[in-house]
Every structure is written in structure tokens, then in C-alpha cells.
Symmetry: D2
Subunit: 344 residues, 4 copies
């Protein structure tokens, strides 16, 4: 049985285990005040070309989203996002748990537009009872989105402009950031991100680490006292060095990007296999998630040897499914899947 | 420089790294629904003799405390604890962040008594304006306490009785549980804990794991829908198996207890070294934390070669300090400290 | 200038001022423990035929909604309601402020259906990652809705059935309850409400009182310790008797219903006036709010002498507007409006 | 039976009922945007000599405290106050319900000092793990305190200085402000308050109004978007004019201060009566609350004709009790009490 169900099915890239073993009995201070965290933050500032950014390491995505978002909003503000956004659907209301409404806009292929955001803010402030409504206080995007689609650089610049006009910080969830940056057709470079987002995070969990997300405040003024927030939200790891060691390793010699590139190339092959058999897709994308629409018979056949997720009901005879590749997907697994698809 | 500053200065017991390496490329489902978590939970139920308990794994202590406490309380209820309790002092108000007041009682050597708790509840319900006050809804204890002291079994049974009378669940924070159970003079056995506490946790972070705390609901009715709470509080690790693998390893052949015993024996030697030189202690205890009161000159001398924490100002010439041993403390480090103390 | 902008433009029915004056210097205990609150609660239990109900008095609607909803939900649960529901749009996120997501369903004419609610709950529990989503924990409806429409008794019974199946309490917001019950065509009687809703409230603010809402827990088990919740949410009026006195007066000899009936009849006349001139409506309804669609010229003409609300943009030449009548609307005002509409 | 149990036993000063009747059928916009609120705010700015202050009206004290405090704090901050402070004891954890810890300092006669606050802030920032503790974010005082005692002007100026040094806004709860300002020996004038406090409130509920508290932001920058906060916390009265009308009346020709003076003079007489019989007091004060320590026999005798509160157990034969006067206390009631005390 070969699983393509998600991108967190395995442990981590072996070099991370090596680094953990090497440093294992070294004594360091706790809570992120160790030399590994310092060095990893420096590497991130260098690679993403943001020398003034403040970098913090947290354990997981939901925790990161809730901590960042609640640190940026005033009590009566909400966060604008796509209805399909992870914070709106799959975090058990972690944002609301901190007291804030998620202001969800209808997405197109997982994305929202500068125009939508602008119109929403406009509508808020022009309503005579605006104080009875949640004030849009920031914007949350994912890159790539939940559907594995990508914003273009221009789309992001337009959104940034709208955010600036309405004084709303822009936060980009990069749980799969590498898979986005390395996708074919992506015109965004690492150094573009701090120019666009006030704060973003570089996902480790799904991209080669055991766990961990690196939050980058390109606008360091927004990071004031952020460590209090991390602690209060239960995200301050006692052995913070575990995060530092992992990101040091991933940032070293471009490993993070190499691993992402591998996953994307594997996904391209999966995508091609389905396309060549004439299957349509729920959405066109180029990152590590592939969403073919399959007849039930094909789903049943593939299910015997492969794990994948039923994503969306399509009609009486078809479902949209999801195949995920990752840094860990061996070429042999993809070859087996290609063969099986060809034989459908 | 040898550090005795805390019990989370190193990585983890090497057998955990071995287990991580062995399982690294194995594919498992996420979020704790993997065979390692299942097996670790079974082992815990067996060792703590609570076949009906529900076991969940979280990443860290503050997260665990806030998640458990907020899952047990109604909005208008608070949690009773010692003023020196970790949740009251060192979690940046994580409990209050979930909307609940910490109802802090004055401790004696880090401990509160059944009588205090009973009197507090009695006072609440007999106040004519009780509905204007936060209702005591549960009790939180640490075993060992922040000062490394231990409740006796009888003290815990008395507290349990009071809790039952006032319908308040009893939650025991076991961030250092092993160091307590293995301390000389401790009359509490692992199997006693589920009989005493409605819910408790077995600390991994400070006792040989990279990270991780195992929450045991001896009263499984209190665990209803607890996984929603974990997710909402950002504590559901995508690669949940990392927690399962670590606790499997720690519970195997009593490793968890062996590591704790080692730390306690090392602390005994540190304690003896200070005692033989005639230094008094902030508190008498038998677990892995030692709190001698030292003159400033001695502190300065020891600081050259050893790291330790200034815990409490005593008088113009003395401070109380803390030396922590752990599962990782080598005997050579203790010998060096013994020598240095002897030479003071 | 005659205002039809809302139903809270005036003070209160004069008999309430009389009652306040009569009782003014009488000494009573505070916080709702006075004979007026007791008597008003008894009258409500009698009129709504729910002898076992628990009745509490709060000051305003937003406060009442947030207090009731947060008292019924577990931390990881949300409240199901129409996208147009007051709690979702016009309470500045008061429900989210208490930590809970509003789970908004697309309404038809302000209403949601038993089928929608059932499908939503079904979809939640059949999703393999349901614990990553907010659990639907209760249902909130308004009677009448924000658009002045009414559920039929059968529709409510169907919703009640679904709620029971999924173990979700049903809460009915009756900010304008009287205007609903007295509307032509309404087949719901006061005594039906406790049979249908687990908890509902009888709006005073918009129906003749200075302020005040009476919350009725037909299911008294859900009201356990509710007074703590009221206090914690800032809704416990020191001079609670002000609420008791007002509801005593409104419940006396059917005054509450008489006032509502007057407003509904006045609205019927306003509705007829627009209908006779051939204007369409945003929505067909029979309560105290009227929503004609008017050309801009007509809006401008009417604006000279009448206050009303622009409710919704329709097209380049038309807007939907809202005229509200109330217990206080004099017949002369309606006659003036009828004349003005006729002259358009 | 004559009640001295609290200062909210009666309705309101008759001139308020007159004003309500006069304005009753006048139509005004809702939510505080009416001419009465505007005029009342202007009068307050004039009387308290703070032309730039922003003034808002809320319904009750707990609501006001929670709304103001949560609007001023960042998520990880708490509010410093006396252990006996109303927010710490008698508001069912309303502040914690908004996510913030109350940082309680031991009071002397209900008061805390500039030195205490300074030492607390100092201790916070000099602790090496300060980010693991709740940051002191503001200071809350009551004038008068819960024990009816008063800060001197110099004490307040010293506290203000400390607050400024640590960048903590100072908030003064004036639920009984008038009773403080008119007390014999009080050296604080209305115009001093905006100079001392960043925000304070003028209590109406206990001083002649039916209900209502006027919040004055002497530092208007802190009031940004405050109306959103009021609404979100359920404190925005639909018929906001009720608050405007009441404060217009109270501020007219010094009525507010006259009523307070009356209550204080009545309390002076009650105090003298007990003093002349040689009874000691729980605390020496000069405002409208009197706290004699009485033997049980005297308590029993007085209880036959008078209502008062048992405040604090003193010893086996004595309790401290509280007699409250108010704007409504008739001289005849005080005379009856004087006679009864004389006859003890």
C-alpha cells in the first residue's frame, strides 16, 4: 500500500535526524534562546532577503495562525480570508477561540482578489452601522491555497496595495510555501515575500521537518512582545533548539527548496498520468497536490494499492480526489501510480 | 561549563532517536491516529493500571494545562491552585486567555491542603453574592510542586475527597511526574494516580523525550470530544506519531522510571554536598531540584564553572538558588559539582 | 419629519413610566431578587404556558444572545444560524468574542430550513476530519427574522426535530417576538414557543419597554447557574427591578400583544400603500417592517418628510428601503405616509 | 424595615423620571447618537474640565470595567489592582472572561500604593523569564475603594507618575465617584480626575440614576473605535438617549454632587452614632459606607428594624457590618438608626 493521502505521512529528511543526533547531549538554554535558533533565523533573513525581519519558530500551523492573527487584531477586528481558507474550515475555530471572527469571502479556485477585499472594506466603512459589524483588521492568504493553486506576483502586489490602503496587515500562511515557490509557472521568489507580506510563515511540518513553522515578521514593528504571545498560546517549545536545528538543516544549501522541487516534479508526473487518460481535474494547479475527477470504478481500483483522499463529491458517478506528493515520495511510488493509472 | 539550570537542556534519550530513525520513512496517518500512539496509550493504561482511561498526547506543558483546564470548566468557573502554581505564574496567563480565572490559594512549601480547598469552596457557596464571584470549578496540583516538594498519598486522598464533595474534578500536572514517583520517601505508586486524579499528565519534555506530555483521563467521561479541544488549542501535532514513538520508548521496560530515578539520585548527591557544608535550603525536598541558600561569594565561585538559577532573594548576603538534575546529568558532572562545593 | 427608521425611536409605553414612578422610592434588593422580577417571571410562565420554565431578565439583545449562546456551547462548538442572522452580522462579533464560531447557512427570505440544518450536521459528522472543524452545537433563529418574515409552526417543529436528533438546543431570538405573533397569518401561539424552543427571549426594547429582554428557558436544565453567566457578561442590572417592573406592566392585560398588534396593523397599511402604487418588495412579509423597492426619485421625495433606512441596493435606478412601525407609531404618521405614497 | 444594605435600593431621583416623561415620545436615533448624549457629554467635559476628552455612556459597572479594560490591554497583558478590587472579587471573572489576568496586589484599607505598583512592574521586567509571565499593562483603582476609603490627590499623582514610567494607562472606577469627591477631607476636585487618570468613569447607578455609567477618556487616543468595543461587549443601549437624559439631569446645576453630599452627610451621622457608643470600625473612612464592628447582640437588635450587610467576620463575638447611605436616604431613616444605636 502506497499512501498519497497527505504530505505529513513520514518522519523527516534524514539529515535532520543526523543533526539531532549530533547535538543531542549538548546543553543549551531553552525556549528559543539557543544558538541554533539564532543561526536559523539569520539564514532565513539572508535567503528571504529581509535583514530587519524578526523570526520566530513555532510547532504547528494552527497554533501559528491563531497566535499571529490574535497578536495583530484588536478585539473588535476580524481576519479577512477565503471561505475555503484553512483558518475558516480546518482549525476547529482556533481563531474564533481567541475572540475574533473570520470574515470569509467566496474564493475562485481557492483564491480571493484585491477587488474583493477592497469592496469588502469599502462596504464596511460605508455602512452607517459599521460599528455594529466586525471591522476587517487584516488579510490572511495561503500560498499555495488549500486547492494547491498559486497567486501570481501581480495578484499579491495588488492585494498588498489594498491592504495598505485600508491599514490591514497582510499575513501569508506558507504551510506549503516551498511547494508553491518551486512549482512550474510560479513567478514569486523567496525575496518577494517580505516585500509583499507583513508577516508570513515558512512551513516545515509538510516539507521535510518533523514539525515546525518559521514565522517571519518582515514588518518587525508588528512583532513587538511576540514571545509573550507564543507562550500564552502554548507554542513556546521548552527545547526550542529542536526548531532551530531543523530549520538550520533545511535552509542549508537550499535543502528546503530541493525537497519541494522534488515533490512538485513528482506531482507533475501524477498529474500528467491522469491527464493522459483524459480525466478532468477539480482545479488546474502545479503544486504538490493533484485533484483528478475519477469515476467510482477507477477510485475503487486505485484504492486497492494506493491511499488518497476523497475530496469532493462531483456527481452520481464521479468524485474529486486528492493525491499528495511530498519531499519523501520515492520515484518508485510515482512510477507504480503511473502504471496503475495507465491500466485503468 | 556544566549547566544545572533546568531539566530540558539536552535533546532526548538516545533510544528515542533510534526509534525515530527506524520508523522514519514508514507511512502513517496523521494527528495521533497511528499505531504508535495506540500502543503507547495501551502501555500507559497498563503501567498506570487504568484500563478504562482515555489517553491523549500533546506537545508541551502550558498547552496541556490550558487545554485540559478549559475543557473541564464552564465559562463562569475558575481553577483552584497554589499561588506558586505554574499556571498562576509561568504560563503568561494561558488559562485566563481561555477565559477562566485562576483562584490562587497561599501555599506551604508549594502545596495546598484539603482544608484550604474545602474552606474556599465553603466560603464561595455561603456568600450571599456568590453569583458575583467566580465559581471554583476544579482543582489543579503539581506532583512534584514547583518547589520540588511532594504530596503524600494521604494528602492527595484528602484532596480528592474534598473535590468529590464539591463536584470539582482534580487535575494533576505531572510535568516532572517521574522525578516525583522515584523520589526517596514518595509513597505514591503509578497505579495510585488514576485512583486519585480525574485527569493527570505524564511529562515527557523534562524526562527524556524531545517533547511531549501524555494526558490520562482516568475519568473518561471528562474526555468527551477532547480531540476537538486539542485541535482548537493548537496542540494536535500533524505527525502525531512522534509523540507515540517517544512514549512507546519511554514506557518500554520502565525506561521512564529508570531515567527519573537516575536524576533523583544525582540530586540527592548534590543536596548532600550542600548539606555537608552546612548550607540551609529554601525548602526540604527529595526530587530532582535542589534549592540551597548560598552566600554571594559562594554563588560567584560556583558560577565560574556551573550554570544554575537564582531563585529567590533571601537577605543582603544570601540568595536561594536552584540546581536541577535530569535524566541526562552525567555522574561526572555531579562529581565536579560535589568537588566544587566541598572546596567552597 | 416623521421617522420610520426603526422600532426603538421613542421611550416607552406611558404605563411603564407610571409604574416606575409609583415604585420609585420603594426599597428592594438588587440584581433581580426583587418581587417585581418574581411576579413578571410568573406572569410570563403563565402566559406562555410553561410552568417549569426558568425566566431571567437582561438589558439588551446583543448581550442576551452572547450570554445565552456562550452558556450553552462547549468551547469547540459553534452556533448554526442564517447568514443574515443578527448574531452573524450586526453584533460586532459578540459571539466570536466569547470564543465561538457562528456557522452561517445561506437563508431564503431570512429563514433557514430543517433540511439545511440536518444536512450541515450530517456533513460535519461524516467528514473524516470532523474534529478539525467546529462542531455544530446549537441552532439560533429569529422570530421574526431580520427581514420581518416568519417561520410557520410546522417549519419550527421540523427544525426542533432535527435539533433533537443532533442534540443541539434550539434558541429563538424574539427581539420582535410580539410583532411576529400578532402578524396576520402567523400560526404560532405564545404557548407553542416553549414547546418548540429550548430557550427563547421576549423582546422588550423594541416593543414598548425602555429596554429589557426576558429570557425563557423552557428546558430549565439548560439554565443551571445562568445568573453567574449574566453577571460575567455584564448583564446583571443592579436595579434589576427596573426589568421586573417593565415586564410586569407589559404582561398585564395583554399590553405586550396589544402594542404589537397596533404596530403590525400600521405596517399593513404602509405595505398596502406601496402595493397599491405598484411597487414591488424586497420580501413579502406581514410584520412591522416593510421593504418596498423604490426608484431613486421616490426615495428622494419621501426623504423630505420621512425618515427610513436604505436597506439594499437593487439596480442603477432602484433601492430597497425599510419602513418600521412600532408600538408608538401614531395613526396620523401612517396617514401622512399613505398620502405621500399616493402622491408619488 | 429600613434598608441600609446598599446604595441601589431605590429607583432614581424624581427629576430623572420627569425628564424621561417629557422626552418620552420624541423620536431620536439610537445607540447614543442622539442630542441628549451629545449634551450630557458636553456637560461632563465642562464640569470635569477636559475639553478634549471622549465620553461614552454604558449601562452598568461590570460591563464598563470589562469593556474599558479589554479595550486597553494587549492579549498577554493583565490589569494591576488591589486584591479587594471589584474586578478581582465581585464581577464573576468578567475581566478574565475577556482573556486577561487580574494582577492583584495586597491592599492596605482597600488601597494600593505607587511603590507597590512600581515594584511589581520592576520585578516583572527584571525577571529573566518575564515573557512567561503576564505583563502588567494598566492599573485599575476605585475612588472610593470597596472599603469606602479615599486616595489623596498626592497618592494618585504618585501612581500616575509610576504608570507613566511603565507606560501603563491608569483607569479609575468611579462607581461611587460623587460619594468620594463630596466626602469630608477629600482633596480631589472633579477637574483633577482627567489630569490623573487616562480614563475614568462617573457612576450613575449608585448615585441617583436608574442605571448608567459615563466613561471619560481624558486621553482620547485610547478611545479609538471604542464604540465597536461597547457593542461587542453588549453595552450599547438601543435607546441610548436614556443614558444621555439621565446624565444631562444629573449634571444640571450640580445635582450629581448635591445628591452625593447628602449621602455623605447622612453617613457621617451614622458613623458618629456608632462612634459615640464606642464601637470600633473595620476601617476609618468618610464616604457613604460605614463599617462598624458590632457584638452579635447589637447586630441582632438592629436587624429587627434595619437592613444592613454582614461584611466580615471579626471574632467569636463580633462581626464587621456595613451600613450604606445614598442620595435617597431620608433624614428620618438616619434619625431612626441614630436612636436605635443610642439605645443599644
Amino acid at each position: 500500500m502506497i499512501l498519497f493521502e497527505s504530505d505529513y505521512l513520514e518522519g523527516c529528511h534524514p539529515s535532520i535526524l543526523d543533526a539531532l543526533r549530533e547535538t543531542n547531549l549538548k546543553q543549551t538554554h531553552g525556549y528559543g534562546s539557543d544558538p541554533h535558533c539564532t543561526k536559523a533565523a539569520d539564514m532565513i533573513r539572508y535567503i528571504f532577503d529581509c535583514p530587519d525581519a524578526e523570526v520566530h519558530f513555532l510547532v504547528g500551523g494552527t497554533q501559528t495562525n491563531a497566535t499571529v492573527i490574535s497578536s495583530l487584531l484588536k478585539p473588535y477586528q476580524g481576519v479577512v480570508c477565503a471561505q475555503s481558507g484553512h483558518i475558516n474550515v480546518h482549525e476547529t475555530g482556533a481563531v474564533e477561540h481567541t475572540g475574533h471572527k473570520v470574515l470569509a469571502l467566496p474564493p475562485h479556485e481557492g483564491k480571493i482578489t484585491a477587488e474583493q477585499i477592497d469592496a469588502f472594506a469599502q462596504a464596511h466603512y460605508s455602512d452607517f452601522s459599521f460599528e455594529h459589524m466586525v471591522q476587517p483588521g487584516m488579510v490572511y492568504l495561503s500560498l499555495p491555497t488549500e486547492l494547491g493553486t498559486l497567486y501570481t506576483k501581480q495578484e499579491l502586489l495588488d492585494i498588498k496595495e489594498v491592504c495598505r490602503n485600508w491599514e490591514m496587515p497582510l499575513f501569508i500562511d506558507g504551510a506549503r510555501l516551498g511547494y508553491g515557490l518551486e512549482a512550474s509557472g510560479c513567478d514569486i521568489l523567496p525575496k518577494d515575500l517580505p516585500q509583499i507580506a507583513d508577516v508570513f510563515y515558512i512551513g516545515g511540518t509538510k516539507q521535510g521537518a518533523l514539525f515546525g513553522e518559521a514565522v517571519v515578521f518582515s514588518n518587525p514593528a508588528l512583532a513587538q512582545d511576540f514571545r509573550y504571545n507564543i507562550k500564552q498560546n502554548g507554542g513556546m517549545l521548552a527545547k526550542g533548539r529542536l526548531l532551530g536545528i531543523q530549520f538550520e538543516t533545511l535552509m542549508n544549501e537550499g535543502l528546503y527548496f530541493k525537497l519541494a522541487r522534488h515533490a512538485d516534479r513528482m506531482a507533475d508526473r501524477v498529474r500528467d498520468a491522469f491527464r493522459q487518460k483524459g480525466f478532468p481535474f477539480l482545479v488546474e494547479n502545479t503544486t504538490n497536490q493533484v485533484f483528478p475527477i475519477l469515476p467510482h470504478a477507477a477510485i475503487e481500483r486505485l484504492s486497492k494499492d494506493f491511499g488518497f483522499e476523497c475530496w469532493q463529491h462531483v456527481d452520481a458517478e464521479h468524485d474529486g480526489v486528492r493525491f499528495c506528493t511530498s519531499w519523501a515520495t520515492p520515484e518508485s511510488a510515482v512510477r507504480a501510480l503511473e502504471d496503475a493509472v495507465r491500466d485503468l
